[in-house]
Symmetry: C2
Subunit: 347 residues, 2 copies
């Protein structure tokens, strides 16, 4: 199929590391939806790459970009020939997460929705994008079921998802702490803490300075949701590992496909296993669903990107890692850069 090869050649000549499989993923996604944002979510290709692929495919006569994305008859033929893909079929009951909420966690969900309803909006300054309340409770659930919360010391590093609030509301951890740089979130969390009299330690500081000595090698589990440059991933997860007490402690964090190519995933996995004595125990697809955020749309050059999406389209895979020896490197990471070529489009 000459179209595929010429589109790939063009994009690569402009420095985009886009693969044939990426191109198939994009084509397939828009054979299933005409909504730009849903297509990005389905495709599992970085959003900035999707935009470039769509523009090239339009130039090649394969699709039309308007307020929606429409494959041309030639596009449909190409899709059937190259990308005979079935739709995903995530389990409706658990949203593909593989676990069920028990009654106690369902109750927690209801209370959490109430206390978090007037939460601060996501802002660009800290690369924020928060998850649905359901996602927050499922994160608590999986860590609880894997034995990383009850009777354990837990820390949340950066918490626009309010995981620390949900964990302390559950009331079975030995200790819960949260570190956050955004004053608005700090105030919001402090306010809930006061109202509900939660056992929660709240710290305002910037993770770029690393983990302070007194928080190092102290916790049994950490949660974080890193910005997705390779260095930011390593910095946030590295800070998390720095907080862990030792062998058998665990970390939970999200990595997306919408901001990170599989090339970036690979570089991250290799560095993670090389630089730390950890093992990856779980990688669960689209565990976290993010609420479509409100910044970054003004400067775009194709129509469907110019408006805030009215669907949630952004997901992350949940990683769980476990530490296999006692260690704290006390690393200081320096200024964390939030943007790279794969995630810059809405930044």
């Amino acid at each position: 199929m000459q179209v595929v090869e010429s589109v790939l050649m063009e994009l690569r000549s402009r420095g985009f590391n886009i693969t044939e499989r990426d191109l198939c993923r994009v084509l397939r996604a828009y054979s299933m939806t005409d909504d730009f944002w849903k297509g990005v979510g389905i495709s599992e290709v970085p959003v900035s790459y999707v935009v470039e692929v769509l523009k090239e495919l339009q130039r090649a006569g394969v699709l039309q970009i308007g307020d929606t994305i429409e494959l041309t008859p030639e596009g449909h033929k190409l899709c059937i020939k190259k990308c005979v893909l079935y739709p995903e079929n995530p389990c409706e009951s658990c949203g593909g997460r593989g676990i069920e909420l028990d009654d106690r966690l369902k109750e927690l969900y209801r209370s959490f929705v109430e206390v978090s309803s007037n939460r601060p909006d996501a802002v660009k300054e800290y690369d924020q994008a928060y998850v649905t309340p359901e996602t927050t409770i499922y994160r608590v659930a999986i860590a609880l079921y894997r034995g990383d919360i009850a009777g354990r010391k837990v820390v949340v590093l950066g918490d626009d998802d309010l995981v620390s609030v949900a964990i302390s509301m559950l009331g079975v951890a030995e200790e819960v702490a949260v570190v956050e740089v955004d004053k608005r979130l700090i105030d919001f969390i402090q306010d809930i803490k006061r109202k509900l009299d939660l056992p929660l330690s709240v710290f305002q500081f910037d993770l770029s300075d690393g983990i302070p000595r007194e928080m190092r090698a102290h916790f049994d589990a950490f949660f974080t949701d890193p910005p997705e440059t390779e260095d930011a991933l390593m910095a946030f997860v590295g800070c998390g590992i720095d907080t862990l007490r030792g062998e058998g402690s665990a970390g939970y964090f999200g990595v997306t496909r919408q901001e990170s190519s599989l090339f970036k995933w690979r570089r991250f996995q290799k560095r993670l296993l090389k630089e730390y004595d950890v093992v990856i125990t779980d990688i669960i697809k689209n565990f976290s669903e993010y609420v479509a955020w409100g910044y970054g749309y003004e400067k775009q050059d194709i129509p469907p990107l110019r408006e805030k999406p009215d669907v949630n389209w952004f997901y992350s895979y949940l990683y769980r890692i476990e530490l296999l020896s006692d260690m704290s490197k006390g690393v200081r990471y320096g200024r964390i850069v939030y943007q790279d070529r794969e995630n810059s489009i809405l930044g």
Copy 2:
């Protein structure tokens, strides 16, 4: 808790790399079930380690080993103090796998159960242990949904799970091949192939000799279920990668916690990412459920191990990897050793 420390010290002095968290996992498991086998499955500690831990815990007065495993009052106290763990709560609807079978796959399940009902037993000679028919169909389902079967060339390396039969019955792959060393399985698969007129290429050979030139760099996806010494894991998965066509091709395989400690998991993950240009895209807990097999029970020295389990207790996590560049190393692995300290007990 001195019990924990002294038990750990004793076991380590005998060369078992058992961690405090392992010990917690075992204690927790037997606070939830008195069945030896179920406890091994829940604990996620290698079965040979579980046996040693139980014997030491019995010596320390923490539990009693008879036909069942009973915690003493002291054991219950220790469990509450050290291992405040909630039970796992896998989603009942999907068995924790995160995906749903559509109608076509449910129909495939029914036909597959029928044709596979008189399948050969698992034998020790080839380290066999086959999965439930449900698991086989879910393996097909996830690969189908991820775009790795329809219109693709698929190979199954070692197939006591009859995945190749299910895929060729589905009828949407471009090509299906199976490699198997066991003459009984070859005959069984050939027989189904003839009866149902399946488009399936069947090859009998030993993977220790590596992948023959004509099968290298040819397929879009492989499935394998390796024996679990570190070298066997690398050899089977390496053979799989050798069959792959290039960028965007994928591999599916299982790794257990019942035969492999997290230390072995880590060594395997590191080598996999170092030796091959692949990325791990999914690690799904207990995706595969194995039918309790009939060999290995005669020589054991504690009562509950001397009889074949009447429950399924053995699970593997499903790994999916994706290849990021075109490559075939054509590696020859030499004789594959099936046994190490972590998986030897029922070998």
